[in-house]
């Protein structure tokens, strides 16, 4: 629906927005606006957080979060690119309390360090594990 597209352009003026399917959009934002975009989306009605995840693009790391609206339909995936050798990005725990669990899993499997997360440690793999399995250069 184009009314969601217009609304998204208002909420995130610095983003490039592409359409994925009927009312699902992908917004690409610069790296330093990560926390700001999350806060603005939550105030505009996108209160349900679906996931915080990462994709390993070989010369950089793409971190994204997916959120949905409560009163109406609509889903937006917000993504940004960060440095692969030292992946650090602010945490979203102050915006959504439920982001804590997604960030722990992303740290465990991809190695992305979220600054500000109260308790960032491994969850699915044993604590003595070395390496991050979902990276493309992981050998076992």
């Amino acid at each position: 629906m184009s009314e969601q597209l217009n609304k998204l352009k208002e909420i995130l003026p610095y983003a490039e927005i592409y359409k994925i399917y009927k009312n699902k959009y992908y917004a690409k934002i610069p790296k330093d606006k990560w926390h700001d975009a999350a806060r603005r989306l939550k105030e505009a009605g996108y209160v349900l957080l679906s996931a915080v995840t990462a994709v390993d693009r070989l010369n950089s790391m793409e971190v994204m979060f997916i959120c949905r609206r409560l009163e109406a339909n609509g889903l937006v995936i917000v993504g940004t690119l960060i440095d692969r050798n030292d992946p650090r990005i602010p945490s979203l725990v102050s915006v959504w309390e439920g982001a804590h669990f997604h960030e722990r899993e992303t740290f465990d499997l991809m190695g992305v360090y979220f600054e500000g997360n109260p308790d960032l440690r491994r969850i699915l793999l044993p604590p003595h594990w070395v390496g991050h399995p979902l990276r493309k250069d992981y050998k076992w």
């Binding site: 349900l48 957080l49 997916i66 339909n73 995936i77 959504w96 669990f101 399995p133 979902l134």
Partner: protein, 370 residues
């Protein structure tokens, strides 16, 4: 809370390890519970005992081989986990599914929802203490599993969904067998309600235990029956209808307070609504093809496909790059969020209620650990 104020008695913190092997059959999960007297102070959830690395495995196999692995994620509700992936790939490819295929998908999903809720019911009542109801739930689930075996050939890990439709058609006389099985389940459902809802022991163990207000449930990221039990009326089948749900007539049960009793109530009512949907679908299903040929692999892009699972929002984010194998598959599991948010909601409850609360959260360790 009054224990600290008693004169002459000191209360110390005790750490109890509710270890990976415990008699209620949820699966291997470790809860490290810190208790002060009888009150729970802190819980640490330790997962990863059956972590199989399915997200990494999806990058090593092609699009035809992947749905076979995905129904082993949550083995009690296998159909939904295949459907999410197939939906995401169909969104990237913009594939069309024929009408009969959509109605068959609805029947498969709703029968799986009934089976999943029945096994939750058995495990939950065994946790609460009503040991007799444990084999009752499994007896009814066996009839539904027989129907699913007629449709797909397998009792638990169905390989039923394909990109562009489903794999097999209904056998002949399916509606006769289905009607018999559904009447059997419905008759016993009335019996369960009589046993549970008037039982003072059950009510004392579930009413006002661990209430979660709607704002907290939304903030934590809950979906599905847990969110509906807190009073928020959101269901993907009603809001953004997929498959053939826009032609069907059903209600969405909602709770009031978000305590354990509401979660039990919402799930039992959902069984009734699913029975209603299956009856309507069997009468109105059109004839025709149930499968279309689609592309071998999708063009580059991103797709997010999610379905309303028996536990919540089961979502797949598929990133494709034009090769026969996906570049990245992210699996969003509802039970992971619910179980990991136990420390945020359980502080202040008593240790004897731990299993009742954990049972009402409906964990399925296959999808939590992936």
């Amino acid at each position: 809370m009054t224990e600290e104020k008693q004169v002459g008695r000191e209360v110390r913190k005790l750490v109890i390890n509710v270890g990976p092997q415990h008699p209620s059959t949820h699966g291997p999960m470790d809860l490290i519970v810190t208790v002060e007297g009888e009150t729970i102070v802190d819980v640490d959830v330790v997962l990863g005992y059956i972590h199989r690395g399915i997200e990494k495995l999806c990058e090593l196999r092609n699009y035809f081989q992947i749905p076979t692995y995905l129904n082993r994620l949550c083995y009690v509700s296998g159909m939904f986990w295949e459907y999410g992936f197939v939906k995401a790939v169909e969104e990237i490819m913009d594939a069309k599914v024929p009408e009969r295929g959509e109605w068959l998908r609805v029947i498969a999903c709703e029968l799986t929802r009934i089976a999943s809720h029945l096994i939750w019911f058995s495990a939950f009542t065994a946790d609460v203490g009503l040991m007799t109801l444990f084999p009752w739930g499994l007896r009814d689930r066996d009839r539904i599993i027989d129907l699913l075996e007629m449709m797909s050939g397998q009792r638990m890990t169905f390989g039923y969904f394909r990109v562009g439709g489903v794999r097999y058609d209904l056998p002949t006389n399916f509606d006769v067998y289905a009607e018999k099985a559904i009447n059997y389940v419905e008759k016993h459902l009335e019996e369960y309600e009589k046993v549970i809802y008037n039982n003072p022991v059950f009510l004392a163990r579930t009413v006002d235990i661990c209430p979660v207000p709607a704002s907290k449930a939304i903030d934590l990221g809950w979906t599905g029956p847990m969110l509906r039990a807190s009073g928020v009326k959101r269901d993907l089948r009603r809001d953004e209808p997929y498959a053939a749900y826009e032609f069907l007539d059903f209600e969405i049960p909602v709770g009031k307070k978000g305590d354990t009793y509401d979660r039990v109530y919402v799930r039992l009512e959902e069984i009734k609504q699913s029975i209603n949907i299956v009856r309507q679908a069997l009468k109105r299903i059109p004839s025709g093809p149930y499968q279309t040929r689609s592309l071998l692999y999708p063009p580059p892009g991103i797709g997010y496909g999610w379905v309303e699972d028996s536990r919540g929002e089961c979502g797949y984010m598929v990133v494709s790059d034009g090769t026969p194998k996906p570049y990245r598959v992210k699996i969003r599991s509802p039970a992971y969020i619910h179980v990991m948010s136990i420390p945020n909601v359980i502080k202040g409850s008593k240790i004897a209620d731990l299993y009742a609360i954990l049972g009402s959260f409906d964990p399925c360790l296959g999808e939590i650990d992936r």
